[in-house]
């Protein structure tokens, strides 16, 4: 019954490979849980930011993101994004889960690292981790079109974004087949670790297009161009959403390494988390200050706005996604502080343009994502990792190739913005033409909840309002 030393060594190597594979999947699944919980965060950020008569509607939309997104991303989205073989534009395998051998166990131990590559073993762990990212991209839009988008419109665009638009964006940058990953012959690689561009610019452009085509909520802008405040109904709900999103972003970025078994993996996960919280902190504080200065100058009063601090911090975390794995904390603080100020600027530009974005989703995600995409290669320590070898960022001796890397990120930024923009203009314009985009005026005036869902967010409060009305008569 005794084994030879060589057999024991082979057993150890095999067991080590199994441990690594399990560890990596465990890591992806648990980080995926926290990112999944971001759906709850978005739901409450949005629920608190709308009027109570539309609260059931926005909660419904966020829950549908989970349901519609999981089916859409399983059937189409993941295959388009990561199905191999794929070409440089899109993946094309595993539609509806085809060609996945559920219980195949083929371990090929790599003799230099002892990592084991099982052909199908990690399919579902990868799917789950990517799915929660795709659902995030779709959810961004729900805030921008809140309180007026039709139910059918929502289901259709949620399906399309998780099933097609976002997956193509992910394929370009994160699939080994994608053209922004391979460099398309330039020898460059896009640097977007956790999705400043892939997720947030993609979703942010969709939010911009959606909000623009839908038009503003009734009464948001007077005919003389005056802005009317339509405050949300509950700051505690907004804050609950914010805390959950802060938590989720730490795992959104920290989990993006997608493994924790090789030398230095723990460090990259930890550094990503550290940079995310520091970037968010800087942004929250800078947005709060910028907003106070702006309102003081405009004569609106000297206030410390909680909502600005929250959205500013979110913009900072969005901006940290692209480079959090490869920048120093001082750089994270710099990027975040800029993102916080730019969020306040962008928010006022959007209002000036008479685009109604009840959640400031455009300013958080599109602007935060843009800042992150551009700044990541500039502040990068190791820079582009072509062939697993770091090239060095421009501030760390990378030279001309490093600046070309900044250019490549700009190419990626513009390409993904264009891709998402063209797709969404087509999509929302079509929905507009066929009359499925916006709820009728009569519904918008009374509130969507009672008309479309037959449910009120706070039934008892409603009863009291009704009885107040009766008293008046």
């Amino acid at each position: 019954a005794s084994m030879s030393q060589q057999d024991e060594i082979e057993l150890l190597k095999r067991q080590m490979a199994i441990m690594k594979e399990n560890q990596n999947q465990f890591f992806m699944l648990i980080n995926g849980m926290f990112v999944f919980f971001m759906q709850c965060g978005f739901a409450f950020l949005e629920a608190g930011s709308v009027r109570s008569v539309n609260t059931v509607n926005i909660l419904m939309k966020n829950i549908l993101d989970v349901f519609v997104g999981s089916l859409s991303f399983f059937a189409f989205g993941y295959p388009f994004a990561y199905g191999r073989p794929g070409n440089s534009f899109i993946g094309h395998n595993n539609f509806f889960g085809a060609n996945v051998d559920y219980f195949e166990k083929t371990i090929t131990v790599d003799n230099s690292t002892l990592a084991g590559y099982e052909t199908s073993s990690s399919y579902f762990a990868n799917w789950f981790f990517q799915y929660v990212f795709a659902a995030t991209a779709a959810t961004i839009v729900s805030g921008a079109v809140a309180e007026r988008a039709d139910f059918a419109c929502y289901v259709i665009y949620s399906f399309t974004i998780t099933g097609f638009i976002y997956p193509v964006s992910a394929h370009w940058v994160w699939s080994p087949d994608g053209w922004l990953y391979t460099g398309a012959g330039t020898g460059l690689r896009m640097q977007d670790f956790a999705g400043s561009c892939v997720v947030h610019v993609c979703g942010g452009v969709a939010a911009l297009v959606g909000a623009k085509i839908l038009g503003p909520r009734l009464g948001r802008f007077s005919e003389d161009g005056k802005l009317n405040a339509i405050p949300g109904h509950s700051v505690p709900l907004v804050s609950l959403g914010a805390f959950i999103l802060f938590l989720g972003f730490l795992c959104f970025n920290g989990g993006s390494i997608q493994r924790i078994s090789e030398d230095g993996d723990g460090l990259i996960a930890s550094l990503s988390i550290t940079n995310t919280i520091i970037s968010g902190s800087g942004a929250g504080l800078s947005a709060m200050l910028a907003n106070r200065v702006y309102n003081t100058v405009k004569g609106n009063g000297k206030f410390w706005s909680l909502l600005m601090a929250i959205n500013g911090a979110l913009a900072g975390m969005v901006a940290s996604c692209a480079g959090c794995n490869d920048i120093a904390p001082w750089a994270a603080l710099t990027i975040g502080s800029v993102a916080g100020v730019m969020f306040v600027v962008a928010r006022n530009v959007v209002l000036w343009a008479e685009i109604d974005d009840p959640l400031d989703a455009i300013s958080v995600h599109l602007i935060g994502g843009t800042i992150g995409t551009i700044s990541a290669p500039i502040f990068a320590i190791r820079g582009q990792m072509v062939g697993g070898k770091p090239e060095g960022g421009p501030l760390y001796g990378g030279g001309i190739i490093a600046w070309k890397g900044v250019g490549w990120n700009l190419v990626g930024l513009l390409s993904i913005a264009l891709w998402s923009g063209i797709c969404c203009i087509t999509l929302f314009s079509t929905l507009n033409m066929v009359g499925l985009i916006r709820i009728p005026k009569s519904v918008e005036e009374v509130g969507i909840d009672i008309k479309k869902h037959g449910e009120l967010a706070y039934p008892e409060a409603f009863v009291r309002v009704i009885s107040d009305e009766k008293k008046k008569k």
Copy 2:
């Protein structure tokens, strides 16, 4: 100071065994955290579904589940469920934590897998993971008896379910000594991976018995049989609970493998999570549609009900528990979609029978659990794992033994339903006889919070109501 090669190999084997043990406990603990958080999910699902005058009461009950459950399950529940030696009906060791050597470290390295079996090392990790499941079983009942159960009744049944009724159910199916696990000479093994039957049928039957014996809330059914709506007070609270429960269910099912160190473990955890979200998504959508069709036909109006989508999705996740580790995603979608529709049907049957279940706990857990228990062996890929060897499910070449496995699951389903039913009828009838089951009518009319807890859910709102009343006079 140099070691021989054989000594180095022995050290490596020992360290590998230690890593596996640690990894498994880490996995159980973290998944257990998310399942523990389901107590918060249930609390808010229920708090939002009751009137504001009974909200403190339902929150109290859910918090007591955590407190009473931990003591009851430590002293009695876990020993009954998993204490070894045990007989085929019940375990009987480790009462009050006896015979657990806290810091004993005896590693026996298994030479074929390098897994290490420490005699007592994993006692507490197992206890915690099982405790959070037991607490779930007890919590299911709190929804069905909401707004009328007496405080003493609640404490007693919560203690009994976590300390005795549920543990026996768990022992039968999940303890290596249990008769549904060993097959009692039939060579069959019950297939209930994460507890469609063990947890949800057991808790669902208790909910049915409790709701029936307590009788409906005052005014729920008019004497002419007319149904009066008693809406809950806050849809946002319900939705918060739902999001937390969705999250928790992913770990409830994904964590049920209870280890992540052997070949293929990660795949089973990942597949379980994937199937859970897909089953829940299918069920949420199918319940929403079925409810819309039903109400349209009945002339109640065409609505997309958020509450039906939420409860439908929960029923779908409950139905996925039994087989999520061993079915294809298309099967999960099928099972979930059926569960969603059956939830809507069951809900209306329960109402027709004039059983008042404020949370639809019966329809979610008993019906969802039943569907899961029956469908798991039917759609199973590998089927019963007797002796670690898969037999193959009926659709995957398993033949007659596979269909016998379906029968064995039916035996288990009926046995556990009977067990829970008989215990709960005895328990609730006794409580009824001694007058500890239901709050007095005077308390029910005013609300439990002010009378029994001296605390109001929303003190400021109350002040305003009082001042309104005064104004009227």
Copy 3:
């Protein structure tokens, strides 16, 4: 291409060391996530416990803890607490992240354990885990000074506690250089596994000093010494916070071992979690009972108070921090039950002393922490771990050295209480003198939200109150 057996063994040893390092960081990061989420728990515990006109303010303060705390703890706090070299009073390295080599990978495999020590690899994982503890210490204070502290006061003390006061406390007990850790020549070591003293006594004393120097809220105590109730505005929000804190405490204590790679690590993590939930359960129930008895005797009515059960449970969990890794569950139940009763006693003593602590933070953290600090060495099984060797607790054969260990914990308790007290008296007195400590009376009367933040927690409710006022006129 084939390797010699010795090369393969060296590779395996190196890979084992890498796995351990990754596993430990993964463990710290994930537990840190749940502890980070405690900020959300504290925010809602506090938000629900204050009036709705001050709710935005308290949410803002809790979010600022996250932002200000991360910058302060990165720049100063962690370097003071753990920067090495350090002296027995304070650490002094790594200010602003200096001297951290981000991507250095130097593994020195320890031949007896195969653990790998990378010089800088775990810096950020440690930072994140310690940061979330520091933020907790600061947050404790926010409850005690709620509804009256000035915004500037809050930012300054939050910065100081996370950047200096708490780090010194942590250095003394948890840094290998600290005098309570080394024993300062006595051969003793303070036993405070997860911070009953380091975190909760430190924060609790700060809360006491802050609440005392600020004075009570307007109208809290009448001139004749009568106590006026100022109920919070939402029990559901309080309960949400409580559930999140219960969850967080399990990881606060379970994660404090800070690694899960060596023999017995999993057991200690699991035992810590088990003891935490059992201690909290005992405390919740005993506080609920003690409060009922007290109020019955005082003639205030017989109530089961949810808020007392919640705060009692928190006190019990605080009391379990110090010894949860090294006591039997029966001891945890004993400690918790005492903490629950003492919480109720302390709460009434604080009120009698006319100190206004809207969150009972003093009674939860200072009293709970004190009980934990004293009881940990008394009930310890293995006792002080000097040189990695357990000495045995007084009840487990430890003899006179074990009782000296109890004395050393008392020395630590008094020293940290004095340290925090002196620092906070200096800090808050200075803020008082320069007029930055308390909001103006005019602001306190109307509510801080509208005056200082320009945002209302519930804008629609406000609109209705205004319209009611108009109707009256």
